[in-house]
Amino acid sequence: MSVQRSTIIFAWILLLPAVLYVTVIVAYPLVDTFILSFTDASLKKTTKWVGWANYDKIFNETFAEVIFRTFIWTFFSVSIKMIIGVFGATMLNAAVPGRALFRLLTMPPWIVPMAIGIFMWGWMYNGQFGMISGVLQNWGLIDGPIAFLARGETAFWATIVTDVWIGVPLVTLYMLAAMQAIPQDLYEAAWTDGAGRFYRFRRITLPLLVPSLITMSMLSLIATFNSFDIIWILTQGGPNGETTTMIIDTYRTAIGSKKYGEGAARAVLICIFLSIFCFAYFRVTSRLSSGEQK
């Protein structure tokens, strides 16, 4: 008994600093946000309790559109990140000369301050002076300049591409690590049985990456759902609000219009959505790990 109890006490001693720290710094503002979501807090000096009014107000037609858009945006961004990440990892995992250098070269988007990376993309998307439109024109692929951020559809994809770009290095790195953890003898066995490179990739690499893919998608999903800077700097949610996601909407309400109460309600909603995702994730992974082994 005492051995057990002292172990648990020790575990808590180890956890305490981190728990305390996060509680003080984050939990307090979180609770504050939660409480705020039931008030009409704004620039006014006094606030009053408004119950569910903020939540009621949120649920209108535009907001449904925003939610839908957020999901689509997140879905595409995360899936493309995963696809490119796996593609990149596969390429970088190939035993070809120079791969150490190539691996190094994938890191920059991760290191550069996010805003700068986004500015660089802003340049690329510029219709008159930017690289993409310019190069396409020089090659004669398009007639006149194309401003990628001018139209809803192109702006939507442009923001996704930038988000993917920022997220890809880390995904690639994790996927590379996961690939290297697959025992070499599995490939040798398959090769001995006549399986070609692509066949091995499809039947061995991919299935064995699934657990890592799920974990990565989860972490990526949280970050992407909350991805703010990219859309804000590139389009501020425009044009016609066609790149407005929940986090943009929240920011515009809370920080832009100083409707702290309504903004907080939106933040709480984001958290609820993400919690549902996480819960589903834990379900899926525990099912997976019970089916397989080591």
Binding site: G127, Q128, A147, A150, G238, G241, K258
Partner: protein
């Protein structure tokens, strides 16, 4: 020790003129110290607001005058009443930009107006008279069309990005057609004058730079500097830059709409707001008045490249305009100009106008419908 007047100062560095006069003021007011905090343009206003909202306001901040009503209504700032004499010293209509409830809530420190720039070479190429800028919207649209069709180059630079300036640009059109957005507490945007402006936007879009919704004014200006657009609405800063280019340009008052009473423009001012609760409100007010008094202010605004328009008429200004005649249209517009409309939720108002403009420019809505919707949406923010 010294009492401090904290000042959120927008920009990248402290202007030399301001630095000089801060020192002068401190010498005259022993025991007081002005501590400016330089914050980039993109964030300075939000920072001042956040500090105030969190309950630790700075003494004084550089803010867009459009936010004054919001601050005042939420009891964050103190009024800075002007004597009649002071009011008179400004160009007409300028005091209106900081006036709400018959009181002044800020001291104007920076001012900008717009005029029309045109590219004479492109006019020539399009078979137009290069020395004759458009006088009316109809001409403007016609010339734009001609340029686009004859040269393949865009005739007009219409900025419609999701950006505060998109609203400003549109307000120039509203004020050159004698329109109004809000009258006291009444939303009057749903008027024929404003509808005409919106219709003109729709009409000129096909001859504008491709992808108007991707550009804000500086980007459109850059295109003009590159010689790739026939006409733009711009501030005085463009002229300074144009001098370094090969572009053959001219500047004229903004073209007028059908209902215009005279030359008009949107009068944008930035002000020094004195925040409530800093404990040094009085002294801050005193300093604000000093730093914007004709002497220091005149020296500050006439440096040229900043693109400011002078706040007050003065012999200095006349001399200045004589030297650089392109200044004339910027000052001429002031007489019939209007202030930025004051709303309780300024950002809310701005978003509504941007949404309205973009929906028309991108063809998602007809001007009349867009206007109706905007009118309804604005009710929430008045």
């Amino acid at each position: 020790a010294d009492q401090e007047i904290s000042w959120i100062y927008c920009g990248d560095t402290m202007d030399a003129v301001h630095a000089k006069y801060i020192k002068q003021w401190e010498e005259k007011n022993p025991g007081w110290k002005v501590t400016p905090e330089v914050v980039g343009w993109a964030q300075c206003q939000d920072k001042a607001t956040t500090l105030a909202a969190a309950g630790t306001p700075v003494a004084m901040a550089y803010v867009g005058s459009r936010t004054l009503k919001e601050f005042a209504q939420n009891d964050l700032i103190v009024p800075v009443p002007m004597t009649d004499e002071e009011k008179k010293s400004y160009y007409p209509n300028i005091v209106d930009t900081v006036t709400f409830d018959d009181n002044q809530w800020g001291v104007p420190i920076a001012f900008s107006t717009k005029a029309l720039y045109w590219n004479k070479d492109l006019f020539k190429q399009a078979g137009l008279d290069p020395e004759k800028p458009p006088k009316t919207w109809a001409e403007e649209i016609e010339f734009a069309k001609a340029i686009k069709e004859k040269t393949g180059i865009a005739g007009y630079g219409l900025p419609a990005k999701t950006f505060d300036n998109t609203m400003h640009q549109f307000m120039h059109w509203v004020y050159t057609n004698n329109g109004k957005v809000i009258d006291g507490d009444k939303i009057v945007i749903d008027s024929p004058e404003v509808l005409a402006a919106l219709q003109a936007y729709k009409d000129i879009t096909p001859y504008s730079v491709e992808g108007a919704t991707a550009y804000e004014q500086n980007e459109v200006r850059a295109i003009f500097l590159d010689g790739k657009v026939g006409m733009i609405q711009g501030g005085s800063g463009a002229a300074v830059r144009l001098k370094d280019t090969k572009v053959n340009w001219g500047v004229a008052p903004l073209p007028l709409g059908p209902s215009a009473k005279g030359e008009g423009t949107l009068l944008i001012t930035d002000s020094l707001a004195i925040f409530k609760g800093s404990g040094v409100e009085e002294k801050a007010t005193e300093f604000a008045k000093f730093i914007t008094s004709p002497g220091p202010q005149g020296e500050y605004e006439l440096q040229g490249a900043a693109g400011l328009t002078p706040l007050r008429p003065s012999p200095m200004v006349d001399e200045f305009v004589k030297k650089d005649p392109y200044w004339q249209p910027f000052i001429d517009g002031i007489a019939f100009g209007g202030p930025e409309p004051l709303f309780t939720d300024y950002k809310g108002f701005q978003n509504v106008i941007i949404a309205m403009v973009q929906s028309v420019v991108t063809g998602k809505a007809e001007p009349a419908d867009a206007l109706k919707k905007a009118a309804a949406d604005l009710e929430e923010y008045k």
